[in-house]
Symmetry: D2
Subunit: 347 residues, 4 copies
């Protein structure tokens, strides 16, 4: 079988280098083109020393006519770029996975408000699927464009979906307290993300609202099949990779710890990348560092009507590049785990 | 004026060395005795290299008769030790501050259940005050024994008290999502707290319940003057010092962001160690590293009935040794800020 | 072809879990037995959460008769254990790789002095090879026991060997300034390695001498074919994985930067796991995090007779488990890179 | 006595905020003016949250005529700025301390080569002293301009001076292997210093030469009273504050460990900020975090002619702002330790 020819637009950030790391061990895919306006002509290995000896590629200027030689193009770009090329590429039969937010929110008024630009490509949405395989696999299989989910939405949605789907919680008051490592802020020069600033400190951020909130609200509502009211506060953790969300909801039905445990295990028993932790244990982010796993625990604090879910992912893998490769595998009918079987790096 | 003579029982842990650091710059106190069974005869400066040239003391074996030469004795010990000596010391006119939990919970059945030992000193509770000066200052002034609050209870109580006191929130469903640096776990050898284990990872812990929960429940109920139901999930942050709590509650009265801001500023306007952040900003733990400040922000997420409070302290200072010195200052009629005016170390 | 059956004795430390991580992706090897006296019966996945779903093994008590069913046994144990079982295993045709130090030093008096125990197995040394493939590959191919090198000796020897082999430096005064991440100290409970102790600090250690010094001295002398005098000072870096050595020597022949660069590139041009960095660049440890690569730079400071070499490895991979698997591949005539092609995790 | 009126030019970087932190507890000095072109009008407390409630100052545009109202002006600026204002200020009787490099190197050709600009103020050098009090105290007392030393030169010079002054080592081949925390790189936005880049990594840098090398070479030669040949390789440590230098030299006289220990203790016995560690121990950077101490150990590796010195400082305190305040104290005839008695923050 011929390998899938992969193009990457915007390969100089953390999701770009992570795509390259993952695809290096993918037996059925080959990166044939990587673009960056600012780094034209630079060898990949000169920018990312971990790739020395792995790739013999140089950055080229993005050019839709050349990208059409690929079978699939990943956009690891700022918001708005995928939107500008998706029509041309998909019309030529090239599949598109956008790791930015261009196709994540179907309500384009909401999208425009949060992303501060006009959305011009509403017409493409019938080609689009939201790339969370565990809950939208069929749509992904048939889509030409994948809106690869944000990292917080991936972790939160996987954690809360079993409760929403089974109508077990009060949807008017769900709380997600999110924590992310600093790679989530990207590779741009930024004083607040200097090591001397963010190390040895912890803080909430995004008081004015985080763009992942409307994305989560829309997807959770689709899963619950009714509107959902979510309070979401993200925090910055002094580590490179990893994300944890602790989710609080009020149960509308009284289920025991055992019943909840069983529900979660049932929901995800066929999923290769969701691991429900044994009752009485909690996941730590290092257990997924460098891997595509999401590990989830559910528990009921004694003497309360609350249910608490904790959900961890590597924000750059299941929260970005790994999930994108998982989506690619589904789109091309490949084994969904190809390239994604690396064990987390511990310690 | 003669200096207050200070004894420290159990000075080999992090709260012990932090007491020593703080008292080194206190103009009205002098450490005259420090004890440790295991380190008898060892020079302080050999155990804590930052104290080289600062103290010329050696650890001695704890001995109540010798401790009676002090004006005040701090217990930086495991739970149960202060209880065993408090009666003898206070009967001799020596004041006691317990940095452990022996006197934190008035309901001794609850205490015994969480701390796994019998409480033998219920008779002393009329000498005890809970050492959170911002809400129990008068009691502290007149007490002979201070139950120095836990770190989580300090940060959470300071954050939520203005809402409780003014009867503004639904007390049946308060959520505190807590995050602590690793010094909170103490200086005992422990595989889970090795640098190679806890660095670059984040996790919730204490699924079976954290001992600070009953302490908070009791104190919040005292402040609210009615029972309070709190869901509390602590998390471990890969940093040495610092604690943040994000607190979620449902408002029972509709107050605007501006009104809430004003309420918090009014509540704490005379307090030297509570700083209400300007509206629209959030505190970070590094802004209090090494300092006795608690910084708090309050905000209302758009379109919801929730109020969110974030509260940061240095777990070893306002969460332990600094607050203990603040309590000592109050007990001895000293300026409450003596020894506590160090600026946080940033970066 | 049948897979190589692998046993691991002492699998509860960092080299044990790293062997498991690496072997999980090895297409020609299968871990069939893992032992630990203290953890008998415990599932691997319960001890190391990154291995959940990867291995279905439990720790068993080490038993030579059962280990003989393996083709090869790795010892990830304290010093002295491999020595006690190597004769029995190799006599039964089982190959042995010792990741501890039992067979690293041929001069057994030196060994006994540094390791504080008698060496009883001198008779086995004709079955032994020092497992640094780049300089001892033929011996490894024919050995039954591999002394897997220490992490510092691996990095230092790879860095300095090209100069020693070509007789270019003064061997009476070589300096190696070594720096290691904390995973090198192992997974034992140890106050000095707590996150609250080692984070945000840097120090030299081992003033009384480090056990890797006599190992390096012996191997460097073998490579130079004359005695070598090495000053070695190790340091502890506040990070989990990674090791860097900066090596200083005085040139006895005047070679230019270009000639040195060429010499190093020639020396290692066929080696899959040694990467000579381009002139003018220096390697960073993160470029090898999780990978079996050693990256080396050589340069001549302007206006001096010194040559400086910097050499980085992941102490747990090329410095331990990865090199052990590389040695296994050589011993079994497999492609030397099997299981070892993972790209370093960056960021 | 009236307080010394202090102006700070360029107060938005790490040395600026550190000056402010230290001066906040100085009983005889008062910051009356702080300037920044880019932050004009911004309140100090809005830029540095640790200073909330401590200072009520705002940044103003630097203006020599206003700065003349100060008794002393600290320049925490890029290279070249102090040079442009020093003549005017000192002519008006204002003392100047430059924390940048404008007056550190007397050989102006060397200076121009390394700093890439012309030095226009050679005429001022008779007002200048090199601000390393332990070796240039008399000159500092009488100077109007202080060249505050670089961080590496401070640590290396304090470590090696006892050997140089007593003519005990071969000056043709001294090696300093330096390691610095990331705050040394400053507060500018810079991809390489992002937390996601520098955390969990260690590397040598400055292969083309570091500007502190010529500074050290000149000062060490002054102390030795003959030319000195130094090989210097700096490294970046994944921590915020702290610097360690390990210095290697060949002894020309055979001194025992005991004699060396005694020599170092004698040299620094009157110095409040240099601490010679007990024989057999090594200093760690956390023992000086936030403090003005330099801690030094000297030892002789067994069976070699080498002497090894390790020297640690906080790069922002003894390596910058603390030493500047120490110099100010000397210039104004104050107790040299004023404002500088804070105990290092440990853990």
């Amino acid at each position: 079988m011929q390998k899938v020819k992969v193009g990457i637009v915007g390969g100089t950030g953390y999701t770009g280098v992570e795509l390259l790391r993952i695809l290096a061990s993918h037996p059925q895919a080959e990166v044939t083109m990587i673009t960056s306006r600012s780094e034209e002509g630079v060898a990949l290995a000169d920018m990312f020393p971990n790739l020395r000896g792995v790739y013999d590629l140089r950055f080229s200027v993005p050019d839709a006519s050349k990208l059409k030689t690929c079978d699939i193009v990943f956009f690891a770009t700022p918001h708005g770029v995928a939107m500008s090329m998706a029509d041309e590429l998909t019309s030529a039969g090239v599949k598109v996975i956008d790791l930015a937010a261009d196709f994540r929110i179907e309500d384009l008024d909401v999208w425009s408000k949060w992303y501060g630009m006009k959305h011009t490509e509403g017409k493409l949405f019938d080609k689009v699927a939201y790339g969370l395989p565990e809950h939208f696999r069929e749509q992904i299989r048939n889509a030409q464009i994948i809106a690869n989910p944000g990292c917080y939405p991936t972790s939160v949605t996987l954690g809360i979906a079993p409760l929403l789907k089974n109508n077990l919680i009060d949807v008017t008051n769900i709380i997600a307290d999110g924590k992310s490592g600093v790679s989530g802020a990207g590779r741009g020069a930024n004083v607040a993300m200097l090591g001397a600033e963010m190390s040895e400190s912890f803080k909430a951020y995004g008081v004015a609202g985080h763009r992942h909130l409307p994305e989560m609200s829309e997807k959770l509502a689709q899963i619950a099949d009714k509107p959902v009211s979510l309070t979401f506060v993200p925090h910055l953790v002094p580590m490179i990779r990893g994300m944890e969300n602790t989710i609080y909801a009020t149960m509308t039905e009284d289920m025991s710890q055992e019943e909840l445990q069983k529900l979660f295990e049932e929901t995800y028993k066929e999923e290769p990348f969701v691991d429900v932790m044994p009752a009485g244990t909690l996941p730590e982010t290092r257990s997924v560092k460098g891997s595509n796993m999401c590990r989830i625990a559910v528990y009921r604090p004694a003497g309360s009507s609350q249910v608490v879910v904790t959900s961890v992912i590597d924000n750059l893998v299941k929260g970005a590049a790994g999930q994108a490769v998982q989506n690619m595998n589904i789109m091309f009918g490949l084994d969904e785990t190809l390239g994604l079987q690396q064990v987390a790096l511990l310690p």
